[in-house]
């Protein structure tokens, strides 16, 4: 056995997944968002070819859904074919989004692709020039909700000079992700592998150094919460020592930030600030960016921003300039979380209606249940209508900061009339 392999570790491509939570009217942006997962796949292929790696590992959730779409299947088949022509093999495990049982195969994958079995851990030997080089261990998800500790079933064959494990799992019960195939770092260490190619968590990162266990993360952020750079890892395992180098690939970067507009007075200034944020984001990432901005701070401009249509018009003006740039920036949503430049403490100290408003808001903000009750009463018809329309709408995502915004709305109205 030659004591060195070099491969690309990617995961969670979610081909065919819609971008959640973005409303892009611009055709160019829409096209880029729809194509982004496929472009990430293309980038992975280019990386494999450019680096002349030994093989590619895809650690689950290649497709977004069990019923794989046509385009996702064809895209993967084309990618595998391109790699096959360069003599690069592909090793795939299915994840919770694309379990092995499910979906109709409409595009055949070349023989150079190996999909790991779902009923047990499978060992496959990668050969170079007819000589065994590396053993790959993997196990796919047979169904979506796998609660079994799959990592516990991995055991290295002592004959393996290099052993790589491929698994889609939640290591360490990562919050915000379904707890599928739960396992611990200890489980990974016990298997005796040289490298764990993990999938499921969309943020790239190293889980453990010994053995080196890495979440490749999604090569393309899928929604506004998946901010920052995404990509895959270029892995080298040599004489039992593994090292992984992150390679950014995302064709569109999600960005979220706040802008303190405390010192600003006019809409033009806000517009300039937003445009600057967009330009900075484009400069920082050097690739298309979808950005969300929360405007913060007590400012003179709050009153102007609150006028009907003002913020929308402002955002459209900024978009018109930034979306035509190269790389483009789509200002996805600007939330006005500003407030009037009033001294809340001074108002609290008063005895007028404003003081009552602030005092009641303070009381309400400290009582989440009360807020929930009030919102439940007020929003029940709306939520019922949304549920009837098939929208999974609830009050869960609404933060208590809504009380502050409500308070500011009332204060704005009061102060506007007093002015």
């Amino acid at each position: 056995m030659s004591a060195r392999v070099r491969f690309v570790h990617a995961a969670d491509l979610h081909l065919g997944a819609p971008f959640a939570g973005v409303s892009a009217e611009d055709e160019r942006v829409r096209r880029a968002l729809v194509d982004a997962p496929y472009r990430a796949l293309d980038a992975i292929v280019e990386l494999c070819l450019g680096e002349r790696v030994d093989f590619l590992v895809l650690a689950g959730d290649v497709y977004n859904a069990a019923e794989r779409g046509v385009r996702p299947q064809l895209a993967l088949a084309d990618a595998a074919q391109a790699l096959a022509e360069a003599g690069i093999r592909v090793f795939i495990t299915h994840g919770n989004h694309d379990p092995a049982r499910g979906g109709q195969t409409v595009a055949r994958l070349p023989d150079t692709v190996h999909v790991f079995a779902h009923d047990s851990v499978e060992r496959v030997v990668f050969e170079r020039d007819g000589e065994p080089v590396c053993a790959l261990y993997g196990r796919s998800f047979g169904r979506r909700d796998v609660s079994e500790n799959l990592a516990a079933g991995f055991r290295r064959d002592p004959a393996d000079e290099i052993a790589v494990a491929v698994l889609h799992a939640n290591v360490g019960g990562r919050q915000g992700y379904d707890d599928y195939a739960p396992c611990t770092v200890g489980d990974l260490a016990a298997a005796g592998m040289d490298y764990w190619a993990l999938g499921h968590i969309h943020e790239p990162g190293i889980v453990a150094e010994t053995p080196l266990a890495v979440y490749a993360g999604a090569p393309q952020g899928m929604d506004p919460t998946q901010t920052g750079q995404r990509g895959c890892y270029l892995v080298t395992v040599e004489r039992g020592a593994a090292r992984a180098e992150f390679v950014p690939l995302a064709s569109v970067v999600w960005e979220s930030c706040t802008a303190d507009v405390s010192g600003l007075v006019t809409l033009d200034e806000v517009e300039d600030r937003l445009e600057l944020l967009c330009r900075d984001a484009a400069g920082a990432w050097s690739r298309p960016v979808v950005i969300r901005v929360d405007l913060m701070g007590r400012s003179e401009v709050h009153g102007v921003l609150g006028k009907p249509g003002a913020l929308t018009a402002l955002v459209e003006r900024v978009r018109a300039r930034t979306v035509s740039g190269e790389p483009w920036v789509w200002l996805d949503r600007v939330r006005d979380a500003t407030a009037a430049p009033v001294d809340l403490d001074a108002i609290r100290a008063g005895s007028d209606l404003s003081a009552d408003i602030v005092a009641i808001a303070d009381e309400l903000a400290s009582d989440r249940d009360a807020v929930a009750r009030e919102l439940e009463n007020a929003l029940d018809p709306l939520l019922a209508k949304l549920r009837a329309a098939g929208v999974d709408a609830s009050l869960d995502g609404i933060e208590t900061s809504v009380v502050e915004r409500a308070r500011d709305i009332v204060l704005d109205a009061l102060l506007a009339r007093e002015a």
Binding site: V22, L74, E374, L375, K385, G390, A413, L414
Partner: protein
């Protein structure tokens, strides 16, 4: 701020009427009916808020002229007039100061928070307006809400804000609405999902295309293999044909080349054979080249030979001439060693004799000069001795004796000297001065006279002494002159004796030098004789003879040397001539060679023959070299031709004999290409179909549409979630406002109502205990002692009027900053009150007037009296005159 006066220039029936001054607290204005009380109340309202339009029911138009009225307000010591005149916009109003600072905003200040309607209901009212406060209570935006807001410290109605928030919320969502944001988004969402469903349905059709693609894939694969095979065959045939054709053509081309080369070789060899080469000359080439190389040097030797012979002759002749001129024998000259000791002797003698001759001449010239000097000195001495009377032969001793005599005579003559004379003169002057000074200082006349006398005596003595000295001087001058002559003569004699001695010494020196010269000349003569030279020669002659011998010997040597060199050169030339002659014989060139010219001529011929022979030999060598190359090339071409023939055979041997030729291969290739073209064409068709189908599948519209629809769906859902949040925010804002309003109703409004309640209780003498305004009820209720509630509309007119008055007094009592300068003008509202309630009402009015100015108009004297009696300090009563 207090209202001080009301003035009607022209207002209704009032003209030039001025009422005042009003008290700071309560002013009761009593007047009969028709006195203008209601008009005055209306006037105040008109000045504050504007005249009613002329068509209005209560326009208060004067009988003649335009409406004009004013109010005079006072604060401290300042007074202002607010005057309104007839005009546009309900009449322009002016504020001017009577006494104090300008306050242009006074009117707005006074009416702050109180609009005209509120004023009419609360501040300036009569019986006719009493019930309106209850009506207003039913209106959410009316005076009650305004008063609530005002009393809460803001000049904004919370109901307005609530209305705005409701509207904003309603733009987002109303339960059964269809045009709101939520409804529109849900419609858009339905549309997106419909597209998604349609796209999914359309995806079903994908299977058929997929099967067709599979069939095309198989055919494509088969055709691809056939094409590959055909391409391989075409490629192989093309390569073989190309190689065979190329080899055959090359063999043919090489055969032609070999033939040309053979012809060329034969031609060159014949050409070389036709050239004759002089080998004898070539063999002697080195000797010829060597002699040709020496020829110029030998020619130069011939020329030098002649020149040397001539020079030898010339030098010999010169030798003989020099010897003859010097009178010397030739052979003797050759033997004299001119560079031996004699040369030094002659040279030294010549220098010594010349120096001695010069010395002799110099001594002789010195002798002559010394003798001349002695003679001249002797003559000078004679001349000097003559004046003193001595002969020329006198000596220095004679003269010294005479000078001794003169010295002795002068010593004897002696005599004073000049110093004595001067001392005497000074003593005379000093004595005269002392006497005069003493006389002046002491005042002595004798002394003054004695001074001049002494001076005169002194001067006389001096003059006498001077005369005696002049007479003795004349004899001494003669002695001095003789002495000087003697001393001069003594000097001249001394110089003459010295000159004579010098001349004698010069004569002795001259004689000594002449003797030395004669001795040296004799010595030279002896040396010359010993050397073989003529002894009669002087030093210079001997030196000249030596020079001549030296020249002669040099010419003699030159002649001998030239002859020796000439002989050496003659031998060289002779050897050259012999070698040329010998060489000519060796190369069969018959020519007599005896002289250098013969040899030079012969050698030229030989050199030319050698050049010609070399040229021809070179031509032959070049032709032979080229021929050799042609021969090599011929061999190479022959080998290549054989290789090409072998290569062609090796390619063609692969095929059956029927096609084992270039033509046969070409036939096979044509067939293979036709087959490849046909298969490729079919492959292209299949590829195009497959590609089109694959592209259609890859960019499957349903899939793409689904992606777009999903993107739209995601965007709409996000927007709906945003709307939910926005709706939640607005709902909470309304909750906050409602709670704040409720808090007011519970914590602040009751204070207003309690005030009104207290007033009402006072007026009704405790019959009614509570006044309540239920939240959102828009009505006023009173509770009597039994706990029963009565709505205001159900009360008796008197009780209702009491309630309305109580509400007003209660409200105004709570209004601190609202309408801060507005007085309450009440127009006879107690008419329907029974005495008990009237007392209560009066008490309440009097109480209010302590904090807010009240002007109560009444036609009832007793009411006026009772109000004045109950009023706080400063209460005033004014009487309105009856109008005529």
């Amino acid at each position: 701020m207090r209202l001080r006066r009301i003035e009607a220039v022209r207002f209704g029936a009032l003209e030039d009427v001025s009422v005042g001054d009003f008290s700071d607290t309560l002013t009761v204005v009593h007047g009969p009916n028709e006195a203008g009380k209601s008009t005055l109340v209306a006037l105040v309202r008109a000045v504050l808020y504007g005249f009613a339009t002329k068509s209005a029911k209560e326009a208060y138009l004067p009988a003649a002229g335009a409406r004009r009225a004013r109010l005079i307000f006072e604060e401290g010591s300042s007074r202002w007039v607010i005057e309104r005149t007839e005009g546009k916009n309900r009449g322009p109003v002016t504020v001017r100061s009577l006494d104090g600072d300008e306050r242009p905003g006074l009117l707005e200040e006074l009416t702050r928070g109180v609009d005209e309607s509120a004023y009419g209901i609360v501040f300036g009212f009569g019986l006719g307006e009493m019930g309106r406060i209850a009506e207003e209570a039913r209106k959410k935006e009316g005076i009650a809400a305004a008063l609530y807001a005002a009393s809460a410290g803001v000049r904004v109605s919370p109901d307005e804000i609530r209305k705005e928030l409701d509207e904003r919320r309603a733009q987002l969502f109303v339960p059964r609405g269809s045009t709101q944001e939520v409804s529109r988004l849900i419609k858009a969402l339905d549309a997106a999902r419909r597209r998604l469903r349609e796209a999914r349905d359309a995806a079903e059709r994908y299977s058929e295309d997929r099967r067709a693609l599979d069939a095309l894939d198989e055919e494509h694969e088969r055709l691809r293999a056939e094409v590959d095979e055909a391409q391989d065959r075409v490629q192989r045939l093309t390569g073989d044909l190309e190689r065979a054709s190329s080899a055959v053509a090359r063999a043919k081309e090489l055969a032609g080349t070999a033939e040309e080369l053979a012809e060329d070789l034969a031609k060159r060899r014949a050409e070389a054979a036709a050239i004759t080469v002089d080998h004898a000359v070539l063999e002697a080439a080195d000797a010829i080249d060597a002699l040709a190389h020496q020829r110029e040097a030998v020619a130069q030797a011939v020329r030098d030979l002649e020149r040397l012979r001539e020079r030898a002759r010339s030098e010999a002749e010169e030798f003989e001439r020099v010897c003859s001129a010097a009178g010397l024998d030739l052979e003797r000259v050759r033997t004299i060693a001119v560079e031996g000791p004699i040369a030094g002797v002659v040279e030294a003698a010549r220098d010594d004799i010349a120096r001695l001759e010069s010395e002799v001449a110099a001594r002789r010239r010195e002798l002559e000069r010394a003798e001349a000097e002695a003679e001249r000195a002797r003559n000078e001495a004679g001349k000097a001795l003559a004046p003193v009377g001595l002969p020329a032969s006198a000596s220095r001793a004679d003269l010294d004796a005479m000078l001794a005599e003169i010295d002795a005579s002068e010593e004897a003559a002696g005599g004073g000297n000049r110093g004595d004379w001067v001392l005497k003169a000074l003593m005379t002057v000093l004595g005269a001065f002392i006497f005069v000074l003493g006389g002046v200082m002491l005042g002595e006349t004798v002394s003054l006279v004695a001074g001049p006398v002494i001076a005169a005596l002194g001067a006389a003595a001096l003059i006498r002494d001077l005369r005696q000295r002049n007479m003795a001087g004349a004899g001494r001058q003669e002695v001095f002159r003789r002495r000087r002559l003697l001393e001069a003569a003594r000097g001249a004699v001394e110089r003459a004796e010295s000159a004579r001695e010098a001349a004698e010494r010069a004569r002795l020196d001259a004689e000594s030098a002449a003797a030395l010269l004669a001795s040296r000349t004799a010595l030279l003569a002896r040396e010359l004789e010993a050397s073989g030279l003529p002894s009669g020669l002087d030093a210079r002659g001997a030196a000249a003879a030596l020079d001549a011998i030296r020249r002669a010997q040099r010419h003699d040597a030159e002649a001998r040397n030239a002859l020796a060199e000439a002989q050496r050169l003659a031998a060289v030339v002779e050897r050259f001539v012999e070698r040329v002659g010998s060489l000519a014989g060796a190369v069969a060139f018959e020519r007599t060679v005896e002289t250098f010219d013969d040899a030079a001529s012969t050698l030229s011929v030989l050199v030319d023959r050698l050049a010609e022979a070399r040229s021809r030999a070179e031509q032959v060598r070049a032709i032979e070299s080229a021929a050799a190359q042609v021969e090599v090339r011929l061999a190479e071409v022959s080998r290549q031709k054989e290789d090409a023939e072998a290569q062609a055979r090796s390619v063609l041997d692969e095929y059956e004999s029927a096609h084992a030729s270039v033509e046969g291969l070409r036939t096979l290739l044509d067939e293979a290409m036709r087959k490849l073209a046909a298969t490729s064409e079919r492959l292209e068709q299949v590829t195009a179909e497959r590609s089109a189908l694959k592209e259609r599948l890859a960019s499957f519209a349903s899939d793409e549409e689904a992606a777009q629809a999903r993107l739209d769906e995601a965007g709409i859902v996000q927007r709906l979630r945003d709307v939910v949040e926005e709706h939640a925010t607005l709902s909470l804002a309304i909750v906050l406002l409602d709670r704040a309003q409720r808090r007011y109703q519970e914590e602040r409004q009751p204070e207003v109502l309690r005030h009104a309640e207290r007033v009402f209780r006072t007026i009704t003498q405790g019959r009614y205990e509570r006044v309540i305004v239920p939240l959102g009820g828009g009505r006023v209720e009173v509770w009597d002692g039994t706990g029963g509630a009565k709505e205001s509309a159900r009360l008796s007119m008197a009780t209702a009027e009491a309630l309305y008055l109580a509400l007003r007094l209660g409200l105004v009592g709570c209004l601190k900053d609202v309408g801060p300068g507005l007085p309450m003008l009440i127009d006879d509202v107690l008419a329907n009150f029974d005495p008990e309630r009237m007392d209560g009402a009066i008490e309440a009015i009097a109480e209010l007037s302590a904090s807010r100015q009240v002007v109560f108009f009444t036609c009832h004297d007793d009411v006026a009296e009772r109000l004045v009696a109950a009023g706080p300090p400063g209460t005033a009563r004014l009487e309105l005159p009856v109008r005529r």
